[in-house]
């Protein structure tokens, strides 16, 4: 998901209007004291609000409205509640929230996980939820003991009355607490009194992820459930011409063949027969307007588009005039490919459509939209649809799809066969299924004056938009510029007097989507690589050059200095090793990375170490920040070294992990993370480790080979000496 929402956050709050799709935006805060909407399903007597329930067995259940996809929200968000509740951390459990306005994102007004927003967006609400519950438990204890509540205190799951040396556990107090009047205004703790927040906590979801018990979408089984795979068009937009249902049904175990908008569904009593049925189906497809798509000609097409001025995203001074005056001019073209998310768990969804209701079990990042889509496909009202959010085997944006296609197809199939159905995407379906990070072309130039000062910067971006034409357009497209296309380029932090960033929308129909770090995933590579080129042309050290230009951006500067120091920037390296750095802000956090690499004579690259410094403001679970930096580095390196989706005759050439490879254990560098102490505004951590690593890597390779890498993924010839 995307920073787009960050960018527009203020507008969301300010206007609070309905989005095109009819989604209400703005805050929805459950009335304090209103019982949780799930209270009826609960055996717990005390449910002071939608986010916490306390059982007579002392268990504390935190209902989490953000999806757990590896980023650690099933730990960080309960920490917020538990801190203010003074809960016994060992008693804390997590439950996935149902779809309900009570669980809407505090900033976006719908239920969604994305944009690296989960923790900061719940920072207040969940602490208040915990503090409210705590006040009611104290009130219950005080009434039991007939003492002044002010003489009681809470700690570690108990209320104490120190004077009379009495104590009661939260479980004991749960019944009575539910009859207490919730306080209207609760005081939150002074951060210096935090016991949990800011200290490394073990993840609550680790045990179920290492004993086989944790349930991902793919693991759901409901009585009478059938399993399906879909014959999907080889070219995006192609329609079914014909298929041989009889031949497919002759495969033992194949039960039904259903044609839906997105293809032909083979429904069977298991995955294997479904797959064999699909092979037997002999589906013939019509061609589509994309049948002629070829990645090579598409590159030329983008280069052509880059000749025309685009919609202006940022303009400072007069670039043309400054370029005219420049003593030295640099020009470069950078290109980045389409990328598949390749979540470890392929897409899947279970749907059970009945005449009066529908249940959906899946790993999703966009519950509200999926529920509406499921309702529409089932011919029901949204309130009749229950979405059960399972563990997500990776998300990276792929499970937040505005058209809810992977939910819709399961619902349509279940409706047609009148039984619960699990639709499974094969890895090939997943990699070839579109919704890619957009391919992009960047024409970029810079001007230096005689003293080597950077006086002009012009950056033109050509890529598709996955926002234009969706309900999100009104919020994310500004003055004809899709923020997700230019983020990270238009907010360039360096002081350059003349600057122009514009965007050309590429009119290509390949389905594209937000991909972990969204626009930053390409813009950071371009601006941080090109800035290195400029520094080199100016005869300056890339670290000192950046530092000097970061006036007025202390958070960028601090992480840059921190990372440089920890990485030993400027200190001699062993023979054959190179260092490169990059610094980038995304999702409200600031990250600098220094990569240390070597390249052998025959072009073998080894990445030895990546040092990260991050300022994400106050921390909740520092261990998660470390984990996200480690994961972000792997994600970014995978893209830099291998990631590429290409087309030939409209067909995606890649299939599975053999031709869409992932970084593996033997290629893993040492990742060293340093959290820069900060009391600034809290940012996100899920995506922000990704953007700087590709440019840091390319900048580290340059001193070894003398070659600039301007196209990803890195190719063998890029690693041979110039």
């Amino acid at each position: 998901m995307s920073e787009i929402f960050n960018v527009n956050r203020r507008d969301f709050i300010k206007t609070g209007v309905a989005v095109g799709g009819g989604l209400m935006l703005g805050f929805y805060l459950p009335r304090i004291g209103q019982p949780a909407r799930r209270a009826e399903q609960s055996t717990s007597p005390f449910a002071p609000n939608a986010f916490v329930r306390i059982g007579t067995d002392d268990s504390v259940t935190v209902i989490v409205n953000h999806s757990e996809m590896g980023q650690g929200v099933y730990t960080a968000l309960p920490m917020l509640v538990a801190e203010e509740l003074d809960a016994d951390w060992t008693q804390v459990r997590v439950e996935a929230a149902p779809v309900d306005p009570a669980y809407n994102h505090t900033q976006f007004g719908i239920q969604v996980t994305g944009g690296s927003t989960s923790t900061w967006s719940e920072w207040e609400r969940l602490r208040k939820a915990g503090a409210t519950a705590r006040a009611m438990l104290i009130a219950a204890a005080a009434e039991t003991w007939k003492v002044d509540p002010a003489s009681c205190r809470a700690e570690n799951g108990h209320v104490f009355h120190t004077a009379s040396r009495r104590r009661l556990s939260y479980g004991h107090l749960a019944d009575k607490a539910s009859s207490m009047t919730p306080p209207q205004n609760v005081a939150l703790k002074d951060p210096k009194d935090f016991k949990l927040i800011g200290k490394p906590a073990k993840r609550l979801d680790t045990p179920e992820k290492i004993n086989g018990k944790g349930l991902f979408g793919l693991d759901v089984k409901v009585p009478g459930m059938l399993t399906a795979v879909v014959a999907r068009p080889p070219v995006f937009g192609a329609k079914v011409k014909s298929f041989n249902a009889d031949r497919a049904k002759a495969v033992p175990g194949v039960l039904r063949i259903v044609e839906i908008d997105r293809g032909v569904v083979v429904v069977a009593d298991g995955y294997w027969p479904a797959l064999k049925g699909r092979e037997a189906l002999e589906t013939v497809w019509d061609e589509s307007p994309l049948s002629g798509l070829d990645s090579r000609t598409q590159r030329d097409q983008y280069a052509e588009l880059a000749r025309q001025p685009g919609a202006v995203a940022r303009k400072e001074g007069d670039v043309a005039a400054a370029m005219g005056r420049a003593a030295k001019k640099l020009e470069a073209v950078y290109e980045l490919p389409y990328l598949a998310h390749a979540t470890m768990e392929p897409l899947n969804c279970v749907a059970d459509v009945r005449p009066d209701g529908c249940d959906v079990w899946t790993g999703t990042q966009l519950q509200t939209v999926d529920r509406a889509a499921a309702a529409q496909a089932a011919g029901l009202k949204p309130e009749q649809v229950k979405v059960h959010t399972m563990l997500l085997g990776g998300g990276f944006g792929r499970r937040a799809v505005v058209d809810s296609h992977f939910v819709r197809e399961a619902v349509e199939t279940s409706k047609a066969v009148k039984a619960p159905v699990k639709v499974i995407w094969t890895r090939e379906d997943d990699i070839r299924g579109g919704y890619y990070r957009p391919m992009s072309h960047h024409s970029i130039s810079a001007g230096l004056d005689a003293a080597g000062n950077l006086t002009a910067w012009q950056h033109r971006i050509v890529c598709q938009s996955f926002i234009v034409g969706t309900p999100f357009e009104a919020f994310i497209v500004k003055d004809g510029v899709d923020e997700t296309a230019v983020e990270g380029a238009k907010d360039l932090p360096y002081r350059i007097p003349n600057l122009l960033v514009d965007w050309q929308k590429a009119p290509v129909g390949v389905p594209t989507l937000w991909w972990r770090s969204v626009g930053h995933s390409h813009t950071a590579f371009v601006v941080e690589s090109f800035l290195d080129e400029v520094a080199h042309a100016a005869g300056k050290d890339s670290y000192e050059f950046r530092r000097a230009l970061l006036v007025g951006n202390p958070r960028h500067k601090a992480v840059l200095e921190f990372a440089a120091e920890k990485a030993g920037w400027g200190k001699p390296l062993p023979q054959g090793r190179g260092r490169g750095l990059a610094v980038h802000e995304s999702f409200g956090s600031f990250v600098a990375q220094v990569a240390e690499v070597s390249v052998t004579k025959d072009g073998q690259l080894k990445i030895h170490r990546v040092v990260c410094a991050i300022d994400c403001g106050p921390t909740v679970n520092p261990d998660t920040i470390h984990a996200q930096m480690e994961g972000g580095v792997v994600f970014g390196l995978t893209a830099a070294l291998y990631g590429e989706i290409t087309f030939e005759k409209g067909r995606v050439k890649q299939r599975n992990f053999h031709d869409y490879p992932m970084l593996r254990m033997n290629e893993m560098p040492v990742v060293e993370t340093h959290i820069v102490p900060s009391v600034e505004k809290m940012g996100g951590v899920g995506e922000t480790g990704v953007p700087p690593v590709a440019p840091a890597l390319a900048n580290a390779i340059f001193p070894l080979t003398g070659k600039r890498i301007r196209r990803l993924p890195i190719r063998a010839e890029d690693l041979r000496k110039a």
Binding site: N211, G394, G631
Partner: protein, 156 residues
């Protein structure tokens, strides 16, 4: 009918003999701890033990497992007491967690064969297992820790 022994329990399953063991475990026996990632022996998410050897169950026809001992993540321990599980908790390895059953099953064979593996040996043994979330650094640390736990008889 194919006769199987999974996690020390006997089963007779009525499936087509070419069905990959993975789907028999997951769909027929309900052992969903073993994951599907690629179906082509490329990612390791489906790793189980067949007579103590790590195999990719997505490409292992169920017939090949007949009469052999199959161990899945569910059979590794009943109570998270296996040194690898304890080490995984100590190092807080998983992110999304989807690859972790396969990682642990691969690591279990490594540690049995090589009680004190060096980094390069870990790389060799574990490079068949993809982790899209990028937990490799922690997996490496956890394997070293588990090796130490085994050597000293267990550190809680």
């Amino acid at each position: 009918m194919v006769k199987l022994k999974v996690n020390r329990k006997d089963y007779a399953v009525d499936v087509s003999p070419d069905t990959p063991l993975l789907w028999v475990l997951r769909e027929t026996l309900g052992l969903t701890g073993t994951k599907f990632g690629c179906g082509m022996a490329l990612c390791g998410a489906c790793t189980v033990h067949l007579d103590g050897e790590a195999v990719r169950s997505c490409v292992t026809p169920v017939l090949r497992a007949a009469g052999k001992e199959v161990t899945t993540i569910e059979g590794l321990s009943h109570d998270l007491s296996h040194p690898l599980q304890r080490a995984w908790i100590a190092e807080d390895v998983p992110q999304c967690g989807y690859c972790q059953s396969g990682q642990i099953m691969a690591a279990a064979v490594l540690l049995r064969e090589n009680p004190n593996p060096a980094d390069a040996e870990i790389d060799d043994a574990m490079s068949g297992n993809i982790c899209r979330c990028g937990t490799y650094q922690r997996i490496r640390r956890a394997i070293h820790l588990a090796a130490r736990m085994k050597a000293t008889g267990g550190i809680r």
